[in-house]
Symmetry: C2
Subunit: 340 residues, 2 copies
């Protein structure tokens, strides 16, 4: 098995120096057109590829982005929230279109990651995606900032730290959903999902929800908010708890679609019909949302745009430019789970 050709092999065949080969392959204007074509032809014939490690070592740039996806350690280890899978698809495409390779890694939020991707020059920057307790997460952010790592993240705006985020306008999204439920005649709307600083995105959705209630002269009932992490199982358990609590409610706003799906299961097991007895709305618009029974009304997050923005902003940072946190609007996708 003969070894891979190097630029010296090409230089030899082309009768030029190795420096010229390197220039020719990089389309340097310094090189004669004719020489360039000859070199490139030979490179193609030999199936030559520039050695990534050598070129990255020399230039100190890897043309690679690392995507770190955190998972909640409490969730089932085999299931990734489809919402993040969709983000992953979009980020992959966006980075490829910019000529960057994508390294991916899944990590437990509680693991001792030091984001060695940039430290070890594997990647020029990092995209952070995931779920889990924000308080744990914040420490890691501080560490990254301290190391002057280039990174952007998906999520709510971070107020106190110099961090570039791309996220949805969760407050307004929450407002929209609850307003829709109210417009459909619901008056006692439960909220399932963590509503504390441990989960800033969910908290914003909850605050939007509360605002909509107040703006429509209804009253926020704290007993109608039940904690849940981003899983189907958590949604199921939370809805069970809600039913056991013996507080009246005619709708559930689930902080994400997976929670909504779990809640629907619990309601149906209790022989309640959706939306007649209880309306249910979600957040995200994952693929499954179209297939639930009834199909789920939800606030859609635009993952395609999100992926593009994340990559764009990270590249700006890598190139020493400025980048701003950006919130994207959500759009309400009305299906059958909230009535008409």
């Amino acid at each position: 098995m003969k070894s891979k050709p190097t630029s010296f092999d090409i230089a030899y065949q082309a009768g030029v120096s190795q420096s010229t080969v390197s220039r020719a392959l990089r389309n340097s204007p310094l090189v004669n057109e004719e020489t360039r074509l000859k070199v490139q032809a030979i490179a193609k014939k030999l199936n030559y590829k520039v050695d990534k490690n050598a070129s990255s070592l020399r230039t100190q740039q890897s043309a690679t982005i690392a995507l770190l996806l955190f998972e909640d350690p409490t969730s089932d280890d085999s299931l990734i929230n489809p919402f993040f899978l969709s983000m992953l698809g979009s980020i992959t495409k966006a980075s490829a279109s910019k000529g960057y390779d994508l390294l991916i890694s899944f990590q437990q939020m509680n693991s001792d990651w030091h984001a060695d991707f940039e430290d070890s020059n594997k990647a020029d920057g990092i995209i952070l995606l995931g779920y889990g307790d924000y308080h744990d997460y914040e420490e890691k952010l501080e560490h990254l900032i301290e190391q002057k790592t280039h990174f952007v993240r998906w999520g709510a705006e971070v107020k106190d730290l110099p961090v570039v985020s791309v996220g949805c306008d969760n407050f307004h999204g929450g407002y929209q959903v609850t307003e829709h439920l109210i417009a459909n005649g619901r008056k006692n709307i439960a909220f399932i999902g963590c509503a504390t600083s441990h989960s800033p995105e969910f908290l914003d959705r909850y605050l939007g929800h509360c605002k909509a209630i107040e703006n429509h002269q209804l009253i926020v009932n704290k007993n109608l908010q039940i904690e849940a992490i981003s899983t189907e199982a958590a949604g199921y358990n939370a809805a069970k708890k809600l039913l056991a609590n013996d507080v009246k409610f005619d709708a559930i706003f689930a902080a994400c679609d997976l929670i909504a799906i779990g809640a629907m299961r619990a309601l149906q097991e209790a022989n309640l019909t959706i939306p007649n007895d209880i309306a249910v709305a979600g957040f995200d618009d994952i693929q499954i949302a179209s297939f639930t029974n009834p199909p789920l009304t939800t606030a859609k997050q635009n993952t395609k745009l999100a992926g593009e923005l994340l990559v764009e902003k990270l590249l700006a940072l890598i190139h020493g430019e400025q980048a701003q946190t950006q919130l994207m609007p959500t759009s309400l996708v009305i299906r059958k789970s909230c009535g008409s």
Copy 2:
């Protein structure tokens, strides 16, 4: 912004040579215990990370695997079949557990990829995953073999080429599904999905299906096989065509879950009830399969095991060992779409 520390910085602080630092960090038995601990402590203090490019260049190994996911160019560009997303998750975890980084790339099957991942030393080997016309794909396989690239692939066994595949026993899976439909009293079972060498996995499922029919003294009706690629839209269109054809059928075996979901939509639009009028079965057991209405009976492919096997076999190849093609059993997941 001060630059990253190198092994020379550590050597200086530890009062030893750079060679010793390198050995100490790699836990070489050649280095004195005390020296090793001192060096490692300083490395930790300085937040030193071995430069990946330098070490890969030197050793000619990248400790990285590339995952190439092909998409059918005819399918909607924003949607990746959830089945492959699930495989991706499993492969990511398996490669991380072996200490390998994972580079991912999505490619159109018709694009002119030359799998430069290994040629450019970005990766030590490649995992191929995807869908699309097998005839296009085969050329690429030949190219990879010619280049002596280390790779494994997901899919049916390749007979004529020295290729290591991991796949499901599609023939038996198809047999199981159809036998289940027959056991539920169905006699005229349509098959939706490509049943030619363009799609070997689907073809095997079809052949298993035909075998089950014959073994139960029924007759295979060629008019009940309709072509479709792996998408919801293709399933929808194929079922429409089937309905328009005016051939009698009481069940549909869809070559994958996405096709099944599309077919169910077409049936329901035609006011047919599932499973009473028409039973429907799929293949894959994607997450959505539990949520369709009615929930879909399907042949489950074990993506977790598949990912582990793919990584394991690829690493064997990289280390110069032998690896064999392996077919995994499928398991029938009985829900409501085929009756009882």
